[in-house]
Symmetry: C2
Subunit: 694 residues, 2 copies
């Protein structure tokens, strides 16, 4: 353990600044909780008015307390905190956890105070947790250094789960929920406003902790995505899953997170892309956050895009199994009925299961040999990717017998248990036996879905270096700021995306060598919405019409944008395809480069039908993105329509996403709209595009 | 209680046919469970080999047992059941519950056996529950007449919830889950194959039961929708909510009809329309099924389409409240921040809450006066439609204090509690205090969403009687079977839906008086897919082109469908609109007439974007349907586009749905595709349609 982690999680001499002698006060809690849960090191309550607090010697100030101090826990009013942190610096206290509130979460004035706090900490070499943080807990070190009321509990169960939470109060809620089921945490941190130590850095410390086997995140926003990304990759390398529950899936949830934390909140789909890119599992239910870890710890991500999503089921209650399977279906996970080989194998053991999609043993399933034989047959067969074992009333009345075949199975693939009745003992036995077991159909389906969606952190390989150099060269030769359509297209073409053939007319009377029909568009870095400005004419049949169109465009645009730099009229061959695709690229302020694939047209916009990933992506990842966009059924071969050139589309997406590989990531945003997808074998063509630099 | 209900739920003399003397056997369970849970009436175990079973006299056959018998519970092999039911008939046993399996659930042969069983029961005047039913329970009558293992429980808690379940084993799961939380059921029935008494009739009996205040349904399908509809309406009249958890949400593959709209409609959508039409609440989570009843019992449906969906929140844990609110946002429920009046009102009480979207009292909220004052202010204000009260750690350590302000509130609108930590005592106290209280954010949001979606059973008013008579007249004058486009349109026009002006050419050379451009289509009751048959030509500019088009159509169709009856070529004015809508009508085999509104085009089909209701619908209901179809944002005034004639569209939907009012409901399916929606004030026009009679 490095020095900082030791000072945070396993401090031996702790100053409790603002400690109260009244045991009913919140500020008395850290001292009470530390002693209640077995801390044997030194606590130094700091309180100018007391010589003794709760039976221990107290000190009027940090400076007067006997040093050295490993960790200061600060509970005084916000206007005193900066001086205290300065004092920490002078005394070489390596870390302070600031419980005090009244900082960035209180608006502009609080944010200024927080900036001063950070400056003071930096100057003094003090690392900070918080402010507005509820505490730092390490159960294995007997160190529940926190004001969270949940630690009032009589016993603190030591466990193998670490958790970092942006909600302090939810730390207590998850603690109580875990302990009510007989399991606990290794380390817990309420990060508060994350003015210094953030989710990422704290998660990284949990990766290094030998007692922590999985890291849970309760998130409202992403404040330090790059650091968290690194931590997640280290966690993956160490075989420790990182599992996130993140608020802000809905607009109102995002608004709430913004007002609650004072932090900026980004789009939820960008966060989802970030989680996926770095191998972070995302669960959707609160119980799932607690219950899924056992599944992820035991079965690391081994999946690739396109792998099967097939579950086989054995149950003693058909209805109980259906409550889970019905939800799995909504997530695109299918039920794999037993194969003939499985049926035959079981028949040889005198177990007749038939071919129904799930194996409902009803009463026969309460015989453990039968249940065990079916389970082994499913686990040993290639026809499914995971096995769900559901137990009915026997789990309630004969827990030992009911769970024995499940605990005794040798799972070569994920084995998940759902218990239909209320049967805490069975759930306990399963957990002790290392089997991921779930209390509600919703959390069970959530965890299984999350496992199927979980992939190892994505690599950064997979794009053409030559194309990137060429694109960088084109970009370097362009003027600053937004690029006009022709220059944007040149960058995309350098990356390997074919543009529609075109010519620039600098005069409406100029001749054009393209075959008709053509389209004509104003060429200007200052006119982003060309159609709105009257700057586009489609289906121009001949040279005369083109001259008219070009003159009209220049006149209308000059009227709409009198100050725009007009570089001419771009004439392009009319192109057509099976479908119009929009490719987008954006440098997101939270997570960095992302690439977006959607279908063209107003409806696709209404349906919010697109796939988003951190950029760059490989061709395989691009293919998975295409599969996610529902409207692109049109190019996948919909109802007898000719299939489109999906391979070329995937190549184009990967090439476009390589904008993220340009040295220094100079592109703020870019868009190809539309990219036309032709029939299979005939490629794609970019018809319009723009690029804006940072 | 009528005689049948008494025989079912409160029998005094029960025959247990096939009862075992081995207490470990399933067939010994009914006797053991009845006696264990206090039944004091007469049990007559029937078993040819025993004179005594579990300490009570046994009888070799029903006929030899001393009569009269109120209820026979049959547990013998399937091939003996029919004779036993015949014997019941002879002995005037009014009802038999058939636990035995091996009937319709086993395929064709079993179905035949079941048909014979029904015939035997009808002949003998015996009503049946099952076969393959796990039992009939009335806790208030001490009558757990069931083989379900869950009744092995030491005590059976009497409650106010009735439940009818199509899964026998889930009856046990919900019993154990409820009892683990300290509440129970009044009546429970496992209906099995529903060969006679179905969910509807049994639910109706629960409406009449004074101990039952809410009726839960665990459904896998709808077998007796009209009877259930009646029961639900009686339940509504009696102030008893009916709450359904139905499987099959993900069963998207089932196509109920060949028509286009039929193909878009899965059975589950139809079930949802049915629930809504008859005032049945649908929950989405298993815990929600158990937990929502208290909300629905206390706050009956008082909502109409377009009513607000605004929740105000008071909490001591911001993160805990956000876990619920974030989910509510996904269901379109908004957060109502406190109004200035509420803020001022509280400020006068020296409580300062600010204007943040939810009122997070943090530690101040653990003072019950403060929490109570905020709660009263929210409940007393018009700015929200429901109030969510969230409690953090105080619920765990000081349950009495924590729940007191919530239990003591006087709710004039729904008041719902969510407890963030594991805190069973608080949940108990809330339940005892009549406050709907939830254990998971998911079930809490599910119940709130279900309440907002809940409306009273829909009335059958709201359509034009004159139009219906006229349509019936047009239909009566048509030949049998499918109608051609012109006759279909005439029916729709009679209902009040304007068709595009048109003329029929019986000869390609015939003149046409319509303004050009026009479209020409083959007119034939035998050609349903006109475009595929080469039977449609669009944008015909002049008379000569029309002659060519008409001749071409007749030639191509004659080739594609040599046997089709061709009635000519229908010429119509080319129409245009802001959006194309598909209206569908179908006589669904389960729930009867339904009407479907969707957007036209391939994408809308891919997105399964439509609204479905039981027909007929009122204009207000039709307007709500329009709001549900996302693609119809195009007519609601999307991004500066001119708004469409939504009022005319709603009128047209209501008029079309009046097909359900035709005497005898003679229409099997009907479709207008497309119905063009013009700009506001300019109406709608039906461009194509078909109608098929039953």
């Amino acid at each position: 353990m490095d020095a900082l982690a030791r000072a945070l999680f396993n401090p031996q001499r702790i100053a409790l600044v603002g400690a109260s002698g009244d045991p009913a006060k919140n500020t008395a809690r850290p001292q009470r909780f530390m002693r209640r849960h077995g801390f044997t090191g030194t606590l130094l309550p700091i309180n100018p008015g007391r010589r003794e607090i709760l039976g221990e010697p107290a000190w009027p100030s940090l400076s007067e307390a006997p040093g050295p101090i490993d960790h200061a826990f600060v509970m005084t009013p916000s206007d005193t905190v900066i001086d205290i942190v300065r004092e920490c610096g002078r005394l070489q206290v390596p870390v302070a956890t600031i419980f005090s509130d009244g900082f960035a979460e209180r608006g502009e004035e609080g944010r200024r105070l927080q900036d001063q706090l950070v400056a003071a900490a930096r100057a003094g070499g003090v690392r900070l947790v918080g402010p507005n943080a509820l505490g730092v807990i390490d159960t294995h070190a007997n160190s529940p250094l926190t004001c969270n009321a949940a630690f009032e509990t009589d016993t603190l169960i030591r466990g193998n789960l670490g958790i970092v939470s942006q909600s302090g109060s939810m730390l207590g809620a998850v603690l109580s929920r875990a302990q009510a089921r007989g399991f606990g945490f290794s380390r817990m941190v309420s990060v508060g406003n994350e003015c210094d130590l953030g989710v990422g850095e704290l998660a990284a410390m949990m990766v290094e902790d030998p007692h922590t086997e999985a890291i849970l995140l309760f998130l409202e926003t992403l404040r330090d995505a790059p650091v968290l990304a690194q931590a997640a990759r280290r966690a993956h390398a160490a075989g420790k899953p990182v599992i996130a529950y993140k608020l802000g899936r809905s607009d109102i949830g995002r608004e709430l997170a913004a007002s609650h934390t004072g932090a900026m909140t980004g789009a939820d789909d960008v966060a989802a892309a970030f989680f996926r890119a770095h191998g972070i599992v995302r669960v959707d239910t609160l119980e799932g956050l607690l219950e899924a870890a056992q599944l992820m710890v035991r079965f690391p991500p081994a999946r690739r895009p396109g792998d099967g999503r097939r579950v086989s089921v054995v149950t003693t209650t058909g209805g109980g199994a259906a409550t889970v399977v019905d939800r799995l279906g909504l997530a695109g996970i299918t039920l794999a009925p037993p194969t003939q080989a499985v049926v035959d194998d079981l028949a040889r053991q005198r177990i007749h299961v038939g071919h129904s999609p799930l194996i409902d043993l009803t009463l026969a399933g309460t015989k453990k040999e039968i249940y065990a034989a079916v389970l082994e047959a499913l686990l040993g067969s290639d026809h499914c990717d995971a096995v769900l074992a559901v137990v009915g009333s026997s789990a309630q009345f004969h827990p030992q017998l009911a769970v024995e075949p499940i605990v005794g199975a040798s799972p070569r693939k994920p084995l998940i248990a759902f218990i239909a009745p209320a049967a805490d003992t069975s759930l306990d036995l399963l957990r002790q036996g290392g089997v991921p077991a779930f209390r509600t159909p919703e959390s069970c389906a959530d965890a299984i879905r999350a496992w199927f969606d979980w992939t190892a952190p994505e690599g950064a390989q997979g794009s053409d270096g030559a194309g990137v150099s060429a694109a960088a060269g084109v970009l370097a030769a362009c003027p600053d700021g937004a690029l006009d359509e022709r220059r944007s297209s040149a960058v995309f073409a350098a990356l390997g995306i074919p543009p529609a053939p075109g010519e620039v007319l600098t005069d409406p009377q100029q001749a054009c060598s393209l075959d008709f029909p053509v389209v004509a568009k104003v060429l200007s870095p200052d006119v982003l919405h060309k159609t709105d400005a009257g700057g586009v004419v489609l289906r121009i049949p001949d040279a005369r019409a083109l001259r008219e169109a070009a003159a009209g465009i220049l006149e209308r645009v000059a009227r709409a944008h009198p100050d725009a730099r007009i570089e001419g009229v771009l004439v392009q061959r009319m192109e057509s395809g099976l479908a119009e695709v929009i490719l987008g690229y954006r440098h997101d302020p939270q997570v960095g480069a992302v690439v977006i694939v959607g279908a063209g047209g107003t409806l696709a916009e209404i349906y919010r039908d697109y796939a988003i990933r951190c950029a760059p992506v490989t061709v395989a990842q691009a293919a998975a993105m295409i599969d996610e966009v529902r409207a692109l059924a049109l190019v996948r071969g919909y109802r007898g329509m000719p299939p489109g050139d999906v391979a070329a589309l995937a190549e184009a997406i990967a090439a476009f996403s390589a904008l993220a590989r340009l040295p220094g990531q100079p592109v703020a945003e870019a868009e190809i709209n539309p990219l036309l997808v032709r029939e299979a074998g005939r490629g794609v063509v970019a018809v319009d595009g723009l690029l804006v630099r940072r």
